[in-house]
Amino acid sequence: MVNLADYKEMIIGSRVIEPGNSEKFRTGDWRSQVPVIDKSICISCLSCWIDCPDNCIVVDEDGLVDVKTTHCKGCGICSQVCPKDAITMKEDIA
């Protein structure tokens, strides 16, 4: 059976009554591909961090990049802008 939202828990009229709740909207659910970073090639230039439209690239204290996948849509921009081809788009089977 298709798994739809429960109408009883939804506000009528497609309204949002809680400001700032788009953070909870997991756009990552749409994804068919996910970026995988080869940290052995990465030079920490942060091009991917700048260009990701969804703020999905995170940087740890050591300046190393990683992907936070809750909002990553799999658009592949990060893999296109990486000067070292350190990012490969892989099928997301999760």
Binding site: L4, A5, Y7, M10, I12, G13, R15, V16, I17
Partner: protein, 391 residues
């Protein structure tokens, strides 16, 4: 003590709607003039100009803008009315389902008129029937008095917090809009008390509780949001019954989900909408004098569709005749399949006949309606019949 009921007046249907609006004193009215609705907004704009209401009256450049303005003004938290007809309603069409899905209780008077072409400005139900699946409540008036009464009842059903759907108040173009009839208005204070204050849900102008309206729905939410409208429509059946009962107390005028005339012991009944109900009552009286057991009924509320009442009405009848003043070309009249379905899911089918009549304002007289029953009784009717068309 002031009387609930005012002195009788002579007024046309459009004037009666404008008078009801004046007594309600809505916050916002936006409209674009289109025959045969024009008198509503002309009369109402005079009330505005004379300071008899404090409504914000907004002239727009088209019906599409009128309804867009109405849906957003209602979202903001203002009681909002508009009026249209025919091509004007067609021009609003894109905003009809959006307004309903926004769950804003805008009230719109529809001076029913055919939708061209061929070019024609006369009455039939082509306009409102083309809007019937858009999620609006829809109620019909038989005469000028009812056009007034339904305009007062309309907001009460639409604005109920478990309904929150926009409403179409239908009155037959020219037949009611331009004909002067005797009417008993209510006392203004009683109208205001009855309609009450508009209490919007999550209004945009409540800046202490910021909200966003009319967002995009992904597949996960779209269908459940539509289902919420189904729930609201079902609730509107109960709400309408309650509001009719309350209205009877202040006016002495009783309305029902389905109005019946001499149906109880009838073998043949017809179902019809709007002003033709009155004409058909006369046809029924004439045929009763001739000894024919006939009756006629009108769904007062067309959306939500009163399926159970229709099924109960048709139970045990020899034949049910559905009179449609619109035609779904290539199928039936719009009401015919709905009546058939209501009966079929509830019980045994009588003989079923569909008569399409009066398109584009074609005159339909008492004698024409008498011939409908007689054709059926004589076994000469087809399943679908086009009254007066030489086939």
């Amino acid at each position: 003590m002031s009387s609930k009921v005012g002195t009788d007046i002579a007024i046309n249907g459009d004037g009666a709607v404008a008078l009801a609006w004046k007594q309600i004193n809505p916050d916002v009215v936006a409209a674009y003039p289109i025959t045969p609705q024009t008198i509503i907004v002309e009369d109402f704009s005079k009330y505005v100009a004379n300071g008899e209401v404090d409504t914000e009256f907004i002239d727009v450049e088209s019906e599409h803008s009128a309804l867009t303005l109405c849906s957003t003004s209602s979202s903001a938290g203002a009681r909002t009315f508009t009026a249209t007809a025919s091509q004007g309603l067609a021009y609003m069409w894109e905003m009809l389902p959006i307004t309903a899905a926004m769950r804003v209780p805008v009230m719109m008077a529809v001076a029913n008129r055919t939708v061209s072409g061929p070019i024609n400005i006369n009455n039939d139900h082509g306009d409102v029937m083309s809007a019937r699946d858009t999620g609006w409540l829809s109620i019909f008036a038989e005469n000028v008095q009812e056009a007034y009464d339904m305009s007062i009842i309309g907001p009460r059903i639409a604005e109920h917090h478990e309904v929150q759907l926009p409403i179409l108040v239908n009155l037959d173009g020219f037949i009611l809009t331009h004909a002067i009839e005797r009417m008993t208005p209510l006392d203004t204070q009683h109208v205001r008390d009855f309609v009450g204050e508009f209490k919007p849900l999550y209004p945009l102008l409540d800046t202490d509780h910021p909200v966003t309206h009319n967002l995009m729905d992904g597949p996960l939410f779209y269908f459940p949001h539509k289902y919420q409208m189904v729930v609201a429509m079902n609730k509107a059946l109960d709400v309408a019954r309650e509001v009719f009962a309350e209205f009877a107390k202040i006016s002495g005028r009783e309305y029902h989900m389905v109005e019946e005339y001499r149906c109880d012991d009838a073998d043949y009944i017809a179902i019809v909408l709007g002003s033709s109900f009155g004409t058909m009552k006369q046809a029924v009286d004439n045929l009763r004098d001739e000894g024919m057991k006939v009756g006629v009924a009108m769904p007062r509320v067309y959306r939500p569709w009163p399926a159970d009442e229709i099924a109960a009405l048709c139970k045990g009848k020899k034949a049910v005749i559905v009179m449609d003043r619109h035609l779904s070309i290539g199928a039936y009249g719009p009401m015919f399949p709905e009546v058939c379905a209501s009966i079929a899911v509830n019980g045994k089918m009588p003989e079923m006949y569909n008569f399409i009549y009066g398109l584009g304002g074609a005159d339909t007289m008492v004698s024409d309606f008498m011939s409908v029953y007689k054709t059926v009784e004589a076994g000469k009717a087809n399943t679908i019949n086009y009254l007066g068309v030489k086939e």
